[in-house]
């Protein structure tokens, strides 16, 4: 372990340390958001708005976590090498999924008492009985089955997140090594199949069935494309932030990684636009009342402004901003485009969810702020907790050589394993101890 080049790398990876600033901000967010949420929930006037706002914010963190899980699975599936340096960040967000599961419980409780608040119309027995179309869907849209499905989805996602993130953390501790990597690669393919099915039906259950008469076969793909954009954005922001704060060391996450993230982001922004346009254009062209009412509501009155804003924020501006090659390496630009895209995800979910309660125009008031602040706070709290305990870099990955991008167009292949091991042993003994137990 005394090879000369390894010392340079060893010095570059600092041990995990708490991030007090983030934690304090997170605690404030959770408190403020929690208070606002409770206030909205107990007020008879705002209770319905709270329910929709909660679903809105919940779907955002859900998209972050599940998108990140997809990213991790994808990297294993295609045997990606470049992404080793940023994969831990995705694993961190994927690990969020158990928190998302906890956040789902209030939503479920809310649905159980739906008679009073009205989130999903198909929960209203009276309405269903008088609508032949709705009662025809009873076999699928009913509370027990809805709950069972949600439990199955979360069980699978948590299992896979624990498997991928846990496996990678185990490698940090020097256990498993190559076998674990090979096993994760093999598991990635079945994971992808289960992911496609669960993500689709989760989006049908939680988002599409808000308007139970409407249907679109592409809906799952639409939600999926937004989800991937969201997770890539947040991974990019976290990468730039962790790099600039020195937690990723120097020289390991280079411009090439940002470039790759930028390319993927650009690609999925285009993919989202493609899917969104396909869905919109086909429904517009077919102009069948069964489907078109969904779009008409969203393209009428005050909602038209939001629809245009959605196209600009989610596609036009990011597309132009990331089009050129140098733009994808520019960390500042990558971060602001990512922030814009996160805003775009909030807009998109708002566009999907809120017209069901505010038929004429978008409405934003204090009841809409509680749940997002609460959930963003929870997200931040989770991150600060993770970073306190674990390295944001998969130091134990046994890849024989990993490309270190010092320049965007060139990389150096480096045998990192010995140097990583040394780094781990010399600097992270305390944390390795934590991991090994």
């Amino acid at each position: 372990m005394s090879a000369e080049p390894s010392h340079a790398i060893t010095d570059l990876i600092p041990a995990p340390r708490p991030c007090a600033g983030l934690r304090n901000a997170a605690v404030i967010l959770v408190i403020v958001g929690g208070l606002l949420s409770v206030a909205a929930l107990i007020s008879d006037v705002h209770r319905a708005r709270f329910g929709f706002a909660y679903l809105w914010a919940f779907s955002f963190v859900w998209a972050v976590a599940l998108g990140a899980l997809f990213f991790v699975g994808l990297q294993h599936l295609v045997h990606a090498v470049w992404s080793v340096a940023v994969r831990r960040i995705a694993e961190m967000f994927a690990g969020l999924i158990w928190l998302v599961a906890i956040l789902f419980v209030p939503l479920l409780l809310y649905c159980i008492y739906n008679d009073r608040f009205g989130l999903y119309p198909w929960l209203d027995a009276n309405k269903v009985a008088h609508d032949s179309l709705l009662s025809g869907k009873k076999a699928y849209l009913n509370l027990p089955f809805f709950t069972v499905r949600a439990v199955v989805f979360f069980a699978l996602w948590i299992a896979f997140a624990a498997y991928f993130t846990g496996g990678s953390l185990k490698q940090d501790a020097g256990r498993g090594g190559v076998e674990v990597s090979l096993r994760m690669r093999r598991t990635a393919a079945p994971f992808m199949m289960l992911f496609a099915v669960t993500a689709t039906f989760a989006s049908i259950d939680w988002l599409m069935s808000l308007e139970p008469l409407w249907f679109s076969t592409i809906f799952g793909v639409y939600v999926f494309s937004g989800m991937v954009v969201t997770s890539l954005s947040i991974i990019s922001i976290a990468t730039v932030w962790l790099r600039s704060s020195g937690r990723l060391g120097r020289g390991i996450v280079g411009d090439g990684h940002l470039y790759n993230l930028g390319v993927l982001l650009f690609g999925f922004v285009c993919f989202w636009a493609y899917i969104a346009f396909s869905q919109y254009m086909l429904i517009w062209y077919g102009n069948i009342p069964e489907e078109s009412f969904y779009l008409i509501r969203r393209l009428d009155g005050g909602w038209l402004v939001l629809s245009i804003a959605l196209a600009l924020v989610r596609f036009v501006i990011p597309f132009l901003a990331l089009l050129s090659r140098p733009a994808k390496i520019n960390a500042t630009r990558l971060v602001w485009v990512s922030v814009l895209l996160l805003l775009g995800q909030f807009l998109d979910l708002y566009w999907l969810i809120m017209p069901q309660i505010h038929h004429d125009q978008p409405v934003v008031g204090w009841p809409e702020f509680g749940p997002p602040l609460l959930m963003l706070g929870a997200l931040a709290l989770y991150i600060s907790h993770f970073l306190k305990r674990y390295l944001p870099l998969a130091v134990g990955d046994p890849l024989p050589e990993m490309p270190v991008f010092l320049l965007p167009h060139r990389f150096v292949r480096l045998s990192l394993e010995p140097s990583y091991t040394e780094a781990f042993e010399s600097l992270a003994r305390r944390f390795r101890h934590v991991l090994e137990n």
């Binding site: 045997h79 090498v81 179309l133 025809g136 869907k137 699928y140 090594g177 190559v178 990597s181 090979l182 992808m192 199949m193 496609a196 099915v197 689709t200 049908i204 008469l213 249907f215 679109s216 076969t217 592409i218 809906f219 799952g220 793909v221 090439g256 390319v263 285009c270 493609y274 899917i275 396909s278 869905q279 254009m281 086909l282 429904i283 062209y285 077919g286 102009n287 069948i288 069964e290 046994p398 890849l399 024989p400 050589e401 490309p403 965007p408 167009h409 060139r410 990389f411 150096v412 292949r413 394993e417 010995p418």
Partner: protein, 458 residues
């Protein structure tokens, strides 16, 4: 652990000790030797098939479209099925040459040229069907392309069929240019290797005076990257537009929003199956197993199974949504597909496209040309049936039960399709004989880099 960790390294793209010189000799050998008897036999056979196309096209033009099996509810029959089938085949070429290029997948290099050629030829075959469906192909230009005319009548740009004109012709042209751009340096190599004066002249003209100058390379590389960048959304758009032909209508079974990505996935699926079908023969015939290795086959098979699952997802989603929608017509069409008079076609499709590729989960099958061959053949069949199922089952029982009918192709329909296979294979055989089937220049880069320490991107 360190010794073991090589298990995680990317698989090698070469078998044995390949040198720059040896690689070049192997790629150019077919160009520089006389065709074998086997090649003559093969091209006589495919030429005969192609002449069936000429015969049936002649019948169509002289007798009219009435010689086809199209009937009243089924206004679109085999012609559109064949059109979509061939356009789909072409998509794998663009995927390999453009998308895998952008993703820096080096294994694409071994098969890219071949797949691109396939794209160009498949688009040529595809174009025949709408052209002959116009009845008078020699006038088709005036009907399809907007030009200033005295009547002041213009094409309807809201029609997906007019989108097709723009999409498929752009696609054909861009694929041709992309392919040719890639060929130029290889043609220059062929020119400079040539012993015979005539051969030198022909390849000299074709290579456009390429000198391998770095001032040229610097522009060339940028242009090639941009071609890839343009082709990637183009390939998505083309098959999406083909799917719009169906999906913008209000016919149950056609009008569904998942059609664009579903068609694109299906196109890649069928295209990869066709690349695999042909390249296995090619590498055997021309002894290129050390350049188109079992690793290449395995990676292609992985893409085949991935796209098979995507297609399967779309089938399932359509079925689920037909039920979920609660619309009686939607529900009927899908039940009719699975249980009606065309159930045989539907289940052929499902078995070939979804069940058969599941065999590729086994590594042994993925890596053995003989074992995977039946699977990819079945996929070719299944993807043709997929288009047949979409076109015919959605049409044959329309909203008016009194006009329901059973569609059967005529001999002319069959002849045109078989003939188009002949055209395709003839062009492929000519290509294998006269142009370098593997991108020698790009493969040299891969070889040079696999030896050097540092890596380059792209």
């Amino acid at each position: 652990m360190t010794a073991n960790s090589t298990a995680l390294a990317p698989a090698s793209l070469f078998v044995g000790d390949v040198t720059l010189k040896g690689l070049e000799d192997d790629i150019y050998r077919p160009l520089e030797s006389f065709p074998t008897t086997r090649w003559w036999l093969a091209i006589s056979f495919t030429g005969a098939l192609a002449s069936i196309f000429a015969l049936c096209a002649g019948i169509t033009v002289t007798q009219g479209i009435g010689t086809w099996g199209n009937n009243n509810p089924v206004g679109w029959g085999w012609a559109i099925v064949n059109f979509v089938f061939w356009v789909g085949i072409g998509h794998a070429g663009t995927l390999i040459s453009a998308i895998l290029f952008l993703f820096r997948q080096r294994w694409r290099t071994g098969i890219a040229r071949f797949a691109e050629a396939m794209t160009v030829f498949a688009v040529i075959c595809a174009m025949q069907f709408p052209l002959f469906h116009t009845g008078r192909p020699w006038l088709a230009m005036f009907w399809l392309i907007p030009y200033p005319n005295d009547q002041g009548i213009y094409q309807n740009f809201r029609s997906p069929l007019e989108w097709d004109v723009f999409a498929v012709s752009t696609y054909g042209l861009v694929s041709l240019m992309f392919w040719y751009t890639g060929l130029i340096p290889d043609l220059a190599t062929a020119r400079d290797r040539a012993k015979h004066q005539f051969r030198k002249f022909v390849y000299g003209v074709l290579s456009l005076g390429w000198k391998g100058s770095n001032r040229a390379w610097s522009h060339y590389e940028k242009a090639y990257l941009l071609f890839a960048g343009l082709s990637t959304p183009l390939v998505l758009s083309v098959h999406s537009i083909v799917s719009f032909d169906f999906a913008v209508s209000v016919i149950p079974g056609w009008h569904t929003t998942i059609f664009p990505p579903y068609f694109v996935a299906g196109a890649i699926f069928s295209g990869f199956a066709m690349v695999a079908t042909l390249i296995i023969i090619l590498r055997k015939m021309f002894h290129l197993q050390h350049l188109i290795t079992d690793n290449h086959l395995e990676l292609m098979n992985k893409i085949i199974i991935a796209t098979s699952l995507m297609v399967g997802y779309a089938y399932a989603m359509e079925f689920f949504m037909a039920w979920y929608s609660g619309v009686a017509y939607e529900r009927y069409v899908f039940l009719n597909r699975a249980l009606g008079p065309y159930a045989w076609a539907y289940w052929t499709m499902a078995i070939c496209n979804v069940l058969a590729p599941q065999l590729l989960w086994f590594k042994k099958i993925r890596r053995t040309a003989l074992l995977m061959y039946p699977v990819v053949l079945l996929v070719n069949v299944g993807m043709w049936f997929e288009r047949f199922v979409i076109v015919v089952t959605s049409l044959h029982r329309d909203f008016l039960p009194s006009s329901w009918d059973y569609y059967k192709p005529t001999l002319v329909d069959i002849g045109l399709f078989v003939g188009s296979i002949g055209i395709f294979l003839t062009l492929m055989l000519l290509f294998c004989r006269f142009l370098p089937t593997i991108a020698a220049t790009e493969l040299k880069v891969v070889l040079a880099e696999s030896r050097s320490e540092g890596g380059h991107r792209e």
